[in-house]
Structure formats: structure tokens, C-alpha cells
Symmetry: C2
Subunit: 131 residues, 2 copies
Amino acid sequence: MKIKRTEDVPLAEVTMEGAAGCKVRWLVGEADQAPNFAMRQFELEPGGHTPRHFHPYEHEIYVLAGEGAIVDGDEVRPLRPGDVVIVSPDDVHQFRNTGRTPFKMLCLIPNSAAGKNVTVVPECGLEPVRQ
Amino acid sequence: MKIKRTEDVPLAEVTMEGAAGCKVRWLVGEADQAPNFAMRQFELEPGGHTPRHFHPYEHEIYVLAGEGAIVDGDEVRPLRPGDVVIVSPDDVHQFRNTGRTPFKMLCLIPNSAAGKNVTVVPECGLEPVRQ
């Protein structure tokens, strides 16, 4: 058994193409050798966002704090603390902070995601999104 | 993609032997057909606890609210919001609310847990635990 405090886990900038103002803590990561899935906490600063992308594995999301939204295909759907999102494999998605405070969420992925291809959708693809 | 609000997911009493004052919401459950793992939110009332038990699959825990503790073998370890626990397969464990408000946590399990044997440790086994 292992217990960690969130604040003791390093907070790293997400440098993936298409991300802005986005940091991550790997709360349960490769070094923990958990058998099946990993737990990450993402923090988006106001105006920040994850890449708009898709990949062949799912996300299970739990929103912890702040005001945000998820781009679901060509739709923007609001998110608030306590919301749960199941992003299915190959769903195009992007998380955004739409508020004035940090937007925090847990995002879990299967271990089988390691090394899988992630396809970033160009930012110009965001223009027709309904706000 | 599916979005749910926690409060829209039914909160059910946990009736497993050894549980007291313990409720659960299956935020991502069998009906969601998520490929690899399930997300539950547990709520323990003051004085409430989960069974003291073990099973051949892991838990990944994130503490959301309240004051609690986990019984880790013969030790009681405190838990507070933001704490993460990795319970490895076959670790004996029990969660307790040690505060005066609801203790809430996410507890994720692999889909492979379905139908696996859970062994409840008798409550008399709690007596020698150091408080």
C-alpha cells in the first residue's frame, strides 16, 4: 500500500503540441507499477487548454475545481466540480479553463495507453466550434 | 462521450458484511461499458467504515472531502482531501470516517475485479489496531 499527498507529487508543464497553460501531476504513474491504470491530475490556468486531439484509448475524468468546458467534436459542453466525463477511444476532445481560477481534474488512462499514437487536431479546427 | 453530474448518479447503501454508514455511487459502472476500469464515489458518515477485507485486485483512491483513515494491516494511517492511496492486490484494508462530516473518496477498480472473491476479515480482528 502506498499513500501520497497531491502536493508532494511534482507538477510538470505539459509541452505537447496544442497545450497551453496546462500542468500535470502523475499521482499514480509508471513508477508505482499499478497493475491496470494511471491517475493524473491536470491543472489548467485561466484561458489554458489541453490539445484538441484523439487517441485509441479512453479517459475517465472527475472535475475537482474551477469552471471549464470540454470540446466534444464540434460542441463545447460546460464542466463544473463533481462532473464525470467518459471520453471513449477515438473521441475528439479538448479541455478548457473558462473561469478565473485554476481548473483541476483527475484524468485516468489505462496502462495500455503507453506508446499509443495521439493525433493532434490543428487549432484552426477550433474556429467553427459553437461557443 | 458521456458527461454525468455526481448528484444525478444514485447513492446506494453498501450492504456488504462489515460495512457501516457507507454509501456508494457508481460514477462509471458496468452500464457505461468503459473498456478497462470503473469509478465509484464512496461516502462514509461520521463513524462509518468499509469492511476490513482483501481481494486479488487493486484500488486507486483519491480523497475528496472529510477526515478519515485507512487501516493498513495493523496500522491506522490518516487521510485528508487530496490524498492518493494505491491499495495493491491482497492488501488488507479498511476505510474509516474519523471526522464529523461526510468522508468522500473516489475508488477505482479494474473491470477484471467483477466476480472476484472478496474476503472479509472479522471485526474482532480490529481490536489490536493501534489508534
